[in-house]
Symmetry: C2
Subunit: 258 residues, 2 copies
């Protein structure tokens, strides 16, 4: 039975896509079957993982708007074994406006998770846009767990209360059982004091929810997306690749303890 | 007659707030009267500039929803002379849903720009959220110009076509005269090849629209927001402060040439 994990933080540029793509790839290297669903109209995860440009092909937009369209009909293989993609593109922004008028608008994504999808994968990661929009609410309601990436800078902490409040609303008003299972520091620079200050603030507030494995700042992680590659394809021995493998181990250990 | 400039890029974490706050402050140091309007529900610009927490006070939410509420009634002084703030907060996310059902929903912000506001300032900067939502469309329609911040990494280039298409739509469908006046590189790391690669790609595509002055990567720019300070208050002699002053000069020169 696959677990569905939404990667979310409305603060922009804090490593949501990097985490979805590279943790997904690291888990597939560890033998897990992983699906990445791109629910961000920017389509950055799709840009990195898709073998071909998909603006004309059906994507998550069709799945949300057409009840008869299954996720399995849009899933494509990536160049990483064991890692599949359900692409998103800018039409998703249109889905947002169309869904607002419908009944059960917050459940469109959950409705599309038929048993054939869930049983085919060990883990499903949902990459979200940097906003608490209806698409992101859909991703909260459809998920079992939420993983929150943060950069070790102060502004990425400021909005966490709003994020947690919105998750609470999904639980109370929409009957979702989704649970925050952790925070991942996706860019740590040991040379900067602000990094340690920020991490200490996070640990003081969220304790063991903060993953022990951090991803160090690493230019390779910035370069890999320009080649449309995961960190493992771009430079499998760099610190970024090793950090993501260690993170995958911690992730699996934490999941097994549940 | 003040010029209204929207700072926008749906890519998250590329320096929208940093540019709004620090270019605004640099211009006020150069003797200009500047207003920063926070149209991002995250309220990061308000967090940095506001003298007091404003979740309970009226903000841009009230201005958009209540036709009788003027911007001037919510404007507050900041601790920087010549720099004022029209705060935003998380209620703005509610304005998005409420506005969608109304006629002329894209013009709510433009309607609130009465002559008393425009004439009181030399420049009005509008900080936006990392999404092409109705609030951001409002910011396109209400503005004279758009300034686009980019980080020198590849993913912040991928979404630029979508941004420019959306600006086009505002011009064609909503009769807005808004014009993109430039791209600012808000974080340049001369030690990374990806930075030069990205800048060359931008210059090849957008030519002279790319501002010559770049903001170098500088940890002080990361630290200043945690103290709720502009870069000039935090460390007026650091490279970040000098870069923003040079940027303000180029900005004024370009504005005078128009
Ligand atoms: N550990 C790291 N070291 C250096 N750069 C990193 C690291 N992790 C991510 N990056 C880079 O930081 C930028 C932002 O990351 P990413 O795009 O994954 O964030 P995001 O939260 O998905 O952004 P958005 O809010 O736009 O969806 C990207 O260019 C990415 O390559
Ligand atoms: N030149 C720079 N050097 C180092 N850090 C920088 C620089 N410019 C901005 N930053 C930091 O990068 C982070 C992202 O910047 P900022 O929050 O201004 O981006 P944004 O586009 O407003 O984000 P969002 O999409 O969430 O609104 C902040 O922590 C900021 O302090
Ligand atoms: Mg992303
Ligand atoms: Mg911002």
């Amino acid at each position: 039975m696959g677990k569905i994990i939404t990667i979310a933080n409305e603060k922009g540029g804090v490593g949501k896509t990097s985490l979805s793509v590279n943790l997904g790839a690291a888990l597939s290297i560890r033998g897990q079957q992983v699906l990445v669903i791109d629910m961000d109209p920017q389509g950055n995860a799709s840009y990195i993982l898709s073998k071909n440009a998909h603006d004309e092909k059906p994507s998550m937009y069709e799945v949300l708007i057409d009840k008869n369209r299954k996720i399995s009909s849009i899933v494509e293989e990536t160049t990483t074994n064991g890692l599949s993609l359900a692409p998103g593109n800018l039409q998703l922004a249109g889905a947002e406006i169309q869904l607002i008028q419908t009944y059960g608008r917050e459940f469109a994504l959950k409705r599309s998770f038929t048993p054939d999808v869930i049983e085919a994968y060990d883990y499903v990661f949902i990459d979200t846009a940097p906003s608490l929009s209806l698409l992101t609410i859909n991703s909260f309601v459809a998920a079992d767990y939420i993983l929150i990436p943060v950069f070790s800078d102060f502004l990425s902490l400021v909005g966490l209360n709003l994020l947690l409040d919105t998750i609470n609303i999904s639980q109370e008003n929409l009957g979702s059982n989704v649970e925050v299972i952790g925070f991942v520091i996706t860019k740590y620079d040991c040379r900067e004091n602000i990094s340690d200050e920020t991490i200490n603030l996070l640990k003081a507030k969220f304790g063991n929810l903060i993953y022990k494995e951090v991803i160090r700042v690493n230019v390779k992680l910035k370069e890999a997306p320009s080649k449309r590659q995961t960190i493992f394809q771009y430079d499998p021995v760099c610190i970024g690749a090793r950090n993501y493998l260690a993170l995958a181990n911690e992730f699996l250990n934490r999941m097994n303890e549940r």
